[in-house]
């Protein structure tokens, strides 16, 4: 049995978290990124016009998840990019290569949510499931 790729947002008093799953750790990371952008924008309205590549050297899985999301957040803040689709490869060494597809933020067209200020370590977790992985992360809004 393999775990179907998906994410859900969950509640926490002042902020919001994402719980994401996939048949591989990389697939779960892709879904976590989708979840983070789902907080900030209606994903369906984000077209794939540009892409950015993120490369990270090896790190423990939880730390790698945090770094991956932080790299994306930095691209959003420094280049005004919003992303809606991700392709992640995690090498055997633990190094990560991810490609994010999206476009420049357009206030007239995108239905925006709140800014994600930060990726916290509160409840941060990576867990193996039967046939896949589940990750959990909370964002500071």
């Amino acid at each position: 049995m393999t775990v179907e790729a998906a994410f859900e947002l969950f509640e926490i008093t002042a902020d919001v978290g994402v719980s994401a799953r996939g048949s591989t750790l990389a697939a779960a990371f892709e879904q976590a990124a989708r979840g983070m952008y789902a907080v900030m924008v209606e994903l369906d309205g984000v077209e794939e016009r540009e892409s950015r590549t993120v490369e990270l050297d090896a790190a423990p899985a939880e730390r790698q998840l945090e770094r991956w999301l932080l790299e994306l957040l930095f691209l959003t803040e420094s280049e005004d990019l919003l992303f809606s689709r991700f392709e992640v490869v995690i090498e055997e060494s633990g190094a990560l290569r991810g490609v994010a597809y999206g476009e420049r933020l357009d206030r007239a067209r995108h239905e925006l949510g709140p800014e994600v200020k930060a990726v916290t370590r509160h409840l941060l977790a990576v867990r193996a499931l039967d046939g896949g992985f589940e990750v959990r992360v909370v964002f500071d809004i």
Partner: protein
């Protein structure tokens, strides 16, 4: 889940304690300021556990404190106060938070609601147009590295130098709008890149700029000294922080602190409490970077203040001097500051962490500017956008019990999603308009998350502090127009 009824020890009607016996490793008890209603609101989440966890931090003195607006945070609860001895204590970025030196400020005007009401919609539009808010909002400035250095070093004064505001604004800002010992060399390129274009922006979430009117005077002599002189007097209430600049500093230092904590052999129950001794290279580097972010936040609020003054001047056809747009005060509620206090009859220097708690120094305190030294510092307590906000004044008893600290707002009671669910189908902006409150939001979807239902009643929160003798209410303000990200 812990049944808090069995753990909490009631001291009096407004004080509750978590004894050190609750968890092995607590160095001091936890203390919560709340009435029964507020206590129950906070009991079903992790806020009390977090209050107990903060008591593990080395060097903590007296109590791990929680204000009546307490709710769950990361490591520290929001509404948490903890003071550490300098010799053997630690500094924890989690005790400051991601939004370093987030705070509030009130700008007075000599206008009344009757004068503003006919132009309120134009005013709201002008403010909304001139003050960037929300995701992707950029300021008018694009700062070079040298200019960023000035902002980090000089805080609000760096903006006054550029024509944003006046010299006399500076004395009406906590710490004069500048923390000393900011160290720009401790700030990464990534921090700079996130901060370059965000100066003079409001952000999103619970940040706001509101036009408010004086609704009720609760302490007439103090109100008058604070500049509240006429019924229906209009003020501007601003809440924002250090934007991506501060968020990135916190993020950078969480990593370094985790490593440092291991090196110094400090064991804590929550990763987000990562810390280092105040008197260690890591502690000093964080405090230097934190001060740089604090100064960025002071500069941000100073920049927005001037944008608001210009918007008023444009709408009312008089310059901001003629409109009486003096600063009342600017207070921070996310900071760690080295302060001199008295403990057990002796002077002591402490690093006071205030995570979602406002400094509230009383009359006579040497850190207060001359204008407030004989009366006490204005304490700004925003409520929610549909009800009211307060200005209070710090009391001497706060110095002894809470290191001169009070609550920072109403405190959340509903999660963002719960609020949205509860208000599905309700047009929050329309509902506010029907009550005469004009809302301009970059992101109307967000309004339900910030509606009154999502927050505790700030009146209850402030009443608890007054009844406990920590602060005294001075005036109550009511929103007329709300600008949101």
């Amino acid at each position: 889940m812990t049944t808090w009824d069995a753990v909490l020890q009631q001291i009096d009607e407004y004080r509750w304690e978590i004894p050190v016996s609750y968890k092995a490793g607590m160095r001091v008890p936890g203390r919560i300021y709340a009435n029964l209603e507020l206590l129950q609101m906070a009991a079903d989440e992790q806020a009390f556990e977090q209050t107990a966890n903060v008591a593990f931090l080395p060097g903590i003195v007296w109590r791990s404190l929680a204000m009546p607006d307490i709710h769950q945070g990361y490591g520290f609860p929001i509404g948490g106060v903890a003071a550490m001895r300098l010799e053997d204590g630690v500094v924890s970025p989690g005790g400051v938070g991601f939004d370093i030196n987030c705070g509030t400020r009130i700008i007075l005007t000599s206008l009344t609601e009757d004068e503003v009401r006919p132009r309120l919609r134009d005013l709201a539009n002008q403010l909304f147009r001139d003050i960037p808010a929300g995701l992707g909002g950029h300021g008018a400035l694009d700062l070079t590295d040298l200019e960023l250095d000035e902002v980090m070093r000089d805080g609000a004064a760096s903006m006054v130098e550029r024509g944003f505001g006046r010299r006399q604004d500076l004395e009406r800002i906590e710490s004069g709008g500048c923390l000393p010992d900011a160290d720009p060399t401790r700030v990464s390129t990534r921090v700079r890149d996130r901060g370059r274009r965000q100066l003079g922006t409001l952000g999103s979430g619970n940040h706001f700029l509101e036009v408010q009117a004086l609704e009720q005077v609760l302490d007439a002599p103090t109100a008058e000294r604070f500049g509240f002189t006429r019924p229906g007097q209009v003020v501007v209430f601003l809440h924002t922080g250090s934007r991506g600049f501060g968020h990135q500093i916190c993020q950078d230092y969480l990593d370094r602190m985790e490593a440092a904590q291991r090196r110094y052999g400090i064991v804590l129950p929550d990763r987000q409490l990562a810390c280092a001794p105040i008197r260690s290279p890591e502690g000093e580097q964080y405090l230097g970077a934190m001060a740089a972010a604090a100064n960025y936040a002071f500069a941000n609020r100073q920049c927005i203040t001037e944008l608001a003054r210009r918007a008023f001047a444009r709408i009312f056809g008089r310059d901001d001097d003629a409109l009486g747009m003096e600063l009342l005060y600017d207070v921070a509620h996310n900071s760690a500051k080295i302060e001199r206090h008295t403990f057990e009859g002796k002077p002591i220097d402490l690093c006071v962490h205030r995570k979602g708690a406002t400094r509230a120094f009383p009359a006579g305190h040497e850190d207060l500017p001359e204008i407030y030294r004989d009366i006490g510092q204005p304490v700004l307590v925003p409520g929610d956008m549909g009800r009211y906000s307060y200005v209070a004044v710090g009391l001497e008893s706060a110095m002894h019990e809470t290191w001169g600290s009070v609550c920072h707002g109403a405190g959340r009671v509903q999660s963002r999603h719960a609020a949205k669910r509860m208000l599905r189908g309700v047009n929050v902006a329309k509902r506010l308009e029907a009550r005469g409150i004009i809302v301009r939001a970059q992101n109307p979807r967000l309004l339900a998350e910030e509606a009154s239902e999502a927050y505790k009643d700030v009146a209850t929160v402030v009443d608890v502090l007054e009844a406990a003798g920590i602060a005294r209410k001075v005036v109550r303000l009511r929103p007329l127009a709300v600008i949101k990200g």
